[in-house]
């Protein structure tokens, strides 16, 4: 084989660089396509819904008059459902992930559990809705309440939380565990003082991504019977009820409710085109809720990672 001349080598390098550049342009194109879609979507909703961005829109209940209709019961409902979801899913999911990583023996049972957690993450959300309708609404008698909805969505995001907990735990170097055990800590103490704190940023990210998914879910919530028209809020703790009694601390969990996606869906399917404006505005509010949840996740992760020094 003849040695290559300088020109030939230059040509090879130039060709390589050209391919490099082509790929770069393609990458930028794909990325901007995705960005343009989301920006266009948000801009469209903002422009269409702009005339509804008033204080009243957030403080009014649903109405048959498009310009008087607001999202009060929807956003309060969404927030309360998310609260119940987080309360149920976080302890369960984190504990399950912790057990699988730190306690469970590697055998066929844990293998089956692991495979099925991945399977659960792929189950369509409507199936969770049907399950919840049978179990929470009728079997446990929770009815069409915030509690039923919160627990349903908790089931839905449990796999996400378990998987992210496990990944966060796996990223902790083995020397941490060994060091802790070496000075005589029990397994629980190791988890309590080392594993959980160090895994926290990853766990929190998973939790918030899970909640951001749950807040946009419509199908399972419709299945368990969220309402379309509801012009009152769940009773605040210790507030006075209409019949003269006082609400208990947790009466609100049994209250009927609606959520943002259902309100949006209802508005898009009405005959009067004026409601499309409401739907766009509410869509933007929901989008803002999801994006701000993601922002919180990123901030928390950044903040907590800074404090971890190995």
């Amino acid at each position: 084989m003849k040695p290559l001349t300088t020109e030939q080598i230059r040509a090879v390098i130039a060709r390589g660089k050209l391919k490099d550049n082509i790929f770069k342009v393609m990458g930028i194109f794909c990325l901007s396509l995705a960005l343009v879609v989301i920006v266009a979507l948000i801009a469209d909703m903002v422009i269409k819904g702009s005339e509804r961005f008033t204080v009243d829109f957030f403080l009014n209940f649903a109405s048959r008059h498009a310009n008087k209709a607001g999202i009060l019961s929807a956003w309060v409902g969404s927030l309360l459902v998310m609260f119940v979801t987080a309360l149920a899913a976080v302890p369960l999911g984190v504990a399950a992930g912790l057990y699988l990583e730190e306690y469970a023996k590697r055998n066929w049972i844990t293998n089956i559990i692991e495979i099925n957690i991945s399977n659960l993450a792929a189950v369509p959300s409507i199936v969770y809705g049907l399950l919840a309708l049978g179990i929470f609404v009728y079997q446990f008698g929770f009815g069409q309440s915030i509690l039923s909805a919160g627990l349903t969505l908790a089931l839905l995001i449990l796999p996400i939380i378990i998987v992210s907990t496990r990944e966060a735990i796996r990223a902790i170097p083995a020397m941490i565990r060994e060091g802790s055990m070496a000075v005589g800590a029990t397994r629980w103490q190791t988890c309590r003082y080392h594993i959980i704190p160090y895994a926290m940023p990853g766990i929190l990210t998973g939790v918030i991504i899970g909640l951001a998914r749950a807040i946009g879910e419509t199908a399972p919530i419709i299945t368990i019977g969220a309402l379309t028209f509801i012009a009152f809020l769940p009773p605040a703790p210790f507030s006075e009820l209409g019949d003269g009694g006082t609400a208990g601390l947790f009466d609100w969990v049994m209250a009927p409710f609606t959520v943002m996606p259902i309100q949006i869906f209802n508005w898009t399917s009405r005959p009067d085109p004026a409601f499309e404006v409401n739907a766009a505005a509410a869509g933007f509010v929901l989008m803002a809720m999801v994006l701000s949840m993601n922002a919180v996740a990123i901030y928390l992760r950044y903040k907590m990672r800074k404090n971890i020094k190995w």
Binding site: R64, L147, T228, F229, P234, G245, M254, P271
Partner: protein, 333 residues
């Protein structure tokens, strides 16, 4: 250790939350059912809550007529919105659960057959023509307008219609094809009528059907097709006047609410029904439906006070029935 005890107390509180459940639902009137009746009931509920200064609470869901009756016969709700009379199966379910009810027609819904405004060849249609176009045998065969009527052009037909779960679908097929739920399947079906509005307004060869309110809000984009009344032989346009005087047949139908007899013992439900019947005509017009004659609303109040329990349909839907006949008939469980 401190955090652990916090966890325990959180669990305890969550446990408490599961009890204390009943108090909340004391003064809530629960309504669920048809999406067709929903706009009327929603309007009434909104005004009623305003009038009662929000002391009495009303919730309205949309589960469809069938879904509403399921909940109703399971004794979960007070009032069921229905765009068709209760069926024999639902009557049996209610009977088994011991749920007695009073049937109240609250408005007319006129199904409207619409075409694109640029469509010049369709001036009217007969029931037979609609049957030729929509019957199951037409599937895959009747694809061009001149196959329905030789006077119409050799152009493809684009069909838009209600989804198979809706009361609208059931009534349209029963009135046009002759048998409920018997329809060709190769058309664009949607439960969301706005999808159908968009579809017909964009295609000059399209034809579709849905509730009158969707046509009334989109008259600029759609043309309503007069349907020949089989009794008189005259083509009749869908309009409030023609529905009220009974000439727009067979596509106009009464829609109902079913009130649980036991719920009427609660004063707030009784008040709600009185409010419904007093303001029904005006609010029905406002949401673009056709109100019943005034004496029908009075008749409903009468039936409530006399506890006229059951349905006058005996488990079957009927086409082209007048509201006067309905009010006079004997109800049965």
């Amino acid at each position: 250790m401190f955090k652990q005890s916090k966890l325990v107390s959180a669990l305890a509180v969550a446990g408490v939350a599961l009890f204390g459940a009943q108090a909340v639902q004391a003064q809530v009137i629960k309504i669920d059912g048809s999406s067709t009746v929903y706009p009327i009931t929603e309007a009434i509920a909104e005004e009623f809550q305003k009038a009662k200064k929000n002391v009495i609470k009303v919730t309205v869901g949309i589960s469809g007529t069938g879904g509403g009756f399921k909940k109703f016969c399971r004794d979960e709700i007070d009032i069921s919105d229905a765009s068709r009379p209760i069926t024999a199966k639902e009557m049996a379910d209610c009977k088994a659960a011991g749920v007695e009810y009073i049937e109240m027609p609250v408005a007319f819904d006129a199904l409207t057959v619409v075409v694109n405004p640029k469509n010049t060849f369709l001036k009217q249609a007969t029931v037979e023509e609609m049957k030729t176009l929509w019957e199951p045998a037409a599937q895959g065969k009747v694809m061009k307008w001149n196959q329905v009527n030789p006077a119409w052009p050799d152009a493809p037909v684009k069909l838009f219609g209600a989804g198979a779960d809706s009361g609208t679908f059931e009534y349209f097929t029963e009135a046009m094809v002759g048998k409920a739920k018997s329809s060709r399947g190769d058309y664009t079906a949607s439960e969301d009528d706005n999808v159908l509005v968009q579809g017909v307004s964009r295609d000059v060869n399209a034809i579709g059907y849905f509730g009158y309110a969707y046509y009334a809000e989109n008259t600029a984009k759609l043309k309503a097709l007069p349907i020949v009344n089989p009794k008189t032989g005259k083509a009749v346009e869908p309009s409030a006047a023609n529905v009220e005087n009974g000439t727009y047949a067979p596509l106009s139908r009464p829609i109902f609410i079913y009130v649980k007899a036991k719920s009427l013992e609660k004063p707030e439900v009784k008040e709600f029904i009185e409010f419904y019947m007093k303001n029904g005509a005006q609010l029905t017009k406002e949401v673009k439906y056709v109100p019943l004659p005034a004496n029908a609303y009075k008749g409903n109040i009468d039936h409530m006070n006399k506890k006229k329990i059951g349905t006058v349909f005996g488990g079957h839907n009927e086409i082209g029935i007048t509201i006067e006949d309905l009010m006079k008939r004997e109800a049965k469980m």
